[in-house]
């Protein structure tokens, strides 16, 4: 599993930390102030994203509603919380070697995948921009559900946010649901954001 992390600070109070090592050292540096009663501790939140719309909706919801608990308040001079975006690649692409092809085909596949990921993160960071939240990104390879839970353990986040694909019962049993697995195995509280149903009457 390879992890590479870009740390991007958003907002004027954030300092940009550049790390070339594993993602957990960066997160551990964000020591939040210990909680005295009136001062609440700021949260470290991790949001799992992929190409699906639901995960972006989850990200938007998280930024919108958790902004109060994550963002730094310049007046109280408190350390802000941290928002980590994590994306997991499935590794199957590595095993596809065309017969008689040169090495360039896996290369180009890998490049295409990286482009994809970059586009993904650009979209995600657009959403986080301007919200006064320190944002970090993490890219992991492997099986999505296990890697997310591992990432949660390593970075000691306070909350994991996932979208839900809204699979029915049978699909869920066959394909396995990442949000279900994480709800059972992640070591921190998990927030599952369901997409708004377009067909039902909305309350707003």
């Amino acid at each position: 599993m390879e992890t590479y992390v870009d740390a991007i600070g958003a907002g004027d109070t954030a300092a940009t930390t550049t790390t070339s090592g594993a993602g957990d050292t960066a997160a551990k540096m964000m020591e939040t102030a210990t909680a005295a009663k009136p001062i609440k501790k700021k949260l470290k939140v991790m949001v799992a994203i992929d190409e699906s719309k639901n995960s972006f909706y989850a990200l938007e919801w998280a930024v919108e509603h958790l902004r109060d608990v994550i963002s730094a308040e310049p007046e109280t001079n408190q350390e802000g919380g941290l928002l980590t975006l994590v994306h997991v690649h499935p590794t199957y692409l590595q095993y596809i070697y065309p017969t008689g092809g040169t090495d360039s085909v896996p290369e180009s596949m890998r490049k295409a995948r990286e482009e994809n990921t970059t586009k993904l993160f650009t979209r995600a960071l657009e959403i986080c921009r301007g919200k006064m939240v320190k944002t970090e990104t993490m890219i992991i390879e492997g099986d999505a559900k296990e890697m997310i839970c591992q990432a949660v353990e390593q970075t000691h986040v306070d909350l994991l946010v996932v979208g839900s694909r809204g699979l029915g019962m049978i699909k869920r049993a066959l394909l396995g649901s990442v949000s279900d697995y994480c709800a059972q195995h992640a070591k921190c509280p998990i927030l599952i954001v369901r997409p708004p149903k377009e067909t039902s009457t909305s309350k707003q």
């Binding site: 909680a35 009663k37 009136p38 609440k40 501790k41 949260l43 989850a58 919801w61 509603h65 109060d68 608990v69 000691h156 306070d158 909350l159 839900s164 949000s179 279900d180 709800a183 992640a186 070591k187 921190c188 509280p189 998990i190 927030l191 599952i192 954001v193 369901r194 708004p196 149903k197 039902s200 309350k203």
Partner: protein, 162 residues
């Protein structure tokens, strides 16, 4: 300028330790200063078994078991509410706290209540069953996470090494 959004957060409580943890977690984290959120505590009583008085031939004192059961239930509700009160009493001045009690099958009552109350968020603890217990008993938190339309937070027992 930040608009103060008013949000309704429902926390499902029962007799377990985990739901008290879920309650204290949500009080710690979901109510930053200056927000205008409402916390609704929802406790679901298990359905009262119905004793038909027609075949109560075996019960000579037919009235008493039912009364005793009701009293037990009432005490259970009181104890759960008292426990939650110790958790949220520090926050009582800042947040509006409502308490509701439902009766019936926990997962369905929670889902219905969330819809009826138009909650913005649901917080629950989890019994943390293993694989087999979960397959047999079913998980309330998973059922609700699938059914409700609003985001759900599932709070587990925190490993105490942070």
């Amino acid at each position: 300028m930040e608009e103060i959004k008013e949000r309704k957060i429902v926390v499902a409580v029962d007799e377990s330790e985990e739901s008290m943890e879920a309650l204290s977690w949500s009080l710690d984290n979901l109510f930053p200063i200056g927000s205008n959120n409402t916390l609704t505590l929802l406790y679901v009583k298990p359905p009262l078994p119905v004793y038909s008085s027609l075949d109560a031939a075996g019960f000579i004192v037919a009235g008493d078991p039912v009364a005793a059961l009701e009293k037990y239930e009432h005490e259970l509700v009181e104890s759960v509410m008292a426990r939650s009160r110790t958790v949220y009493q520090d926050f009582e001045s800042d947040i509006n706290i409502e308490r509701r009690v439902g009766r019936g099958d926990a997962k369905e009552v929670i889902c219905n209540a969330v819809e009826k109350l138009r909650a913005d968020m649901l917080v629950m603890g989890t019994h943390d069953y293993g694989f087999f217990k979960r397959a047999l008993l079913g998980s309330v938190s998973q059922y609700c996470a699938k059914r409700v339309k609003c985001p759900v937070v599932i709070v587990k027992k925190q490993p105490q090494n942070i």
